[in-house]
Amino acid sequence: MNINWFKYASPASFYPLAGKMIPWFAIPAGILAFIGLVMGLFVLPPDFKQGESYRIIFIHVPAAWMSMVIYLAMAFWAIVGMVWNSRLSAMMAIALAPTGAMFCFLALWTGALWGKPTWGTYWVWDARLTTQLILLFMYLGYMALHAAIEDPRRAARASGLLAIVGAFNVPIIYFSVQWWNTLHQGASITPNKSEMAASMASVMLIMAVAAWLYAIAVALKRVRCEILDRERHASWVAELVTKTGQVHG
C-alpha cells in the first residue's frame, strides 16, 4: 500500500481539511466545557476545607496543563519543520503560541485568585507559580521574536529554533525553581495534596478534555488564517476567493 504521508503537509490541501476539522473539535469542546462548568460550579458540593473557592481548580489546573503541553507541541512542530523543512509545521507552531500564552496567563491569574482565600495572599513564590511565570515570559519572547522578523521564512525558522532551545530548558528551569523554592521557604504554604474526590477528579478531567479540544480548534482556525496570509500570492488562494466569493473552505 502506498500512503502519501505528506499529502496534508501542503498548505493548499490542509486548508480545507482544517476547515472541516474545526467543528469536530469546537462543538465537543463547547459541550464538555458547559457540562464541566455546570457540574463544577453548581452541582458538586463545596469542599470541607476550602469551601467554595476550590471550584477555581476546574479552570486553573486544565489551564496550567495546557500551557505546558502547548509549549511542547510548539517545540514538536518546530522540530518537524526543521527536519522536513515543511512550511506547514512552522505555521502550526506559530498558531499554537497565542493559545499557550493565553492558558499560561489564565493559570497565573486563577492561581492568584485562588491563592488569596487559601494562602491569604495573591502571590507567593511557589515553585509551580514561578515556573508558570517564566513559561509565560518564554511564550512572550517567542511571539516577540516572531513578530520582530519581517521575512516570514526567517521568522518561522528563528522562532522555531528558540522554541526548541526553550523546550530543552523548561525541565531544567522547573527543577531548579523547585529546588530554589524548597531552599528558601518551608513547604507549609504549598496547597495540601489531599486526595481528590472521584467526582471532582472526573469534572476536572472533563474540563481538561474541553481545554484540549478548544486548543486544537483554535489552533486550526489560526493556522488557516496563517496559511491564507502566507499563501496570498498562490493561485489556489485566488481560485478559492473567486470561486466562493469569500474564504470558507
Partner: protein, 222 residues
Amino acid sequence: MTVIFRTILVRELTLGLRRKADMLMTLFFCVIVASMFPLAVGPETELLRTMGPGIIWVAALLASLLSLERLFGGDYADGTLEQMVISSHPLAMIVFAKVVAHWLLAGLPLVLISPLLALQYGLDGDEGLILVATLLIGTPILSLLGAVGAALTLGLRGGGVLISLLVLPLFVPVLIFGSAAVDDAAAGLSIEGHFSLLGAMLIAALILTPWAIASALRISIE
C-alpha cells in the same frame, strides 16, 4: 580545526582590546547597578549581606546582556559573518571561538571585579570567594546561551531589548544556583551540589550551544 579556533580567538581578542571602552563600559555598568541597590534599600549591614549575592548575580546578568549585541553585530554589518558562514571551516567552531573571546573580554572582567562588589555588601572571606567561583562557572554559561539569542536577533530592530526578552528566562537556573551557593555557604550548608549542577550546566552548554548558535546564524544570514 584548532587553527581556525586560534585564529578567530586571536582576531577577536585583538579587536576587543583595541576598543577598551566597550569592555570597560560593561564593567562599569555592573558596578553602578550593584552600587544602586544599597542606596535604594538602605545601608543595613545584615540586609545587604543577605541580598548581596543575588544583587551581584543580577548585575552580572544584566551586564553580560549589554555586550551581547556586539558579539555578532559588527561582523554582520561589514559582511565578515557571511564569509564565516560560507567558509569551509565548521561554523560551530568559529562561533565557539567568538564566544570564548567574548567571555574573556566581557565575562572574565566581571568575575575579577566581583570581589570588590562582594566587599561592598559585606561578603568577606569565604563567601566572597564562593561568589567569585560561582561567577567563574556561571558567566560562560551566560555568554553561551546569550549568543543563541544574539544570533537569532541579528540585524533586527530593537535587537537589544529582544535579546533580553529571549534569554533572561533561560538564565534562571544559573541565577538560582549561583546565588544559592553563596547563601548556603553563609548558612553553613554544603555547597557541593550547587557547584556540581553549575558545572553540569556549563558542560551541557559547551557541548550543545555552539550548534544552536551556528544554526541560528545560518537562519539569520540566508
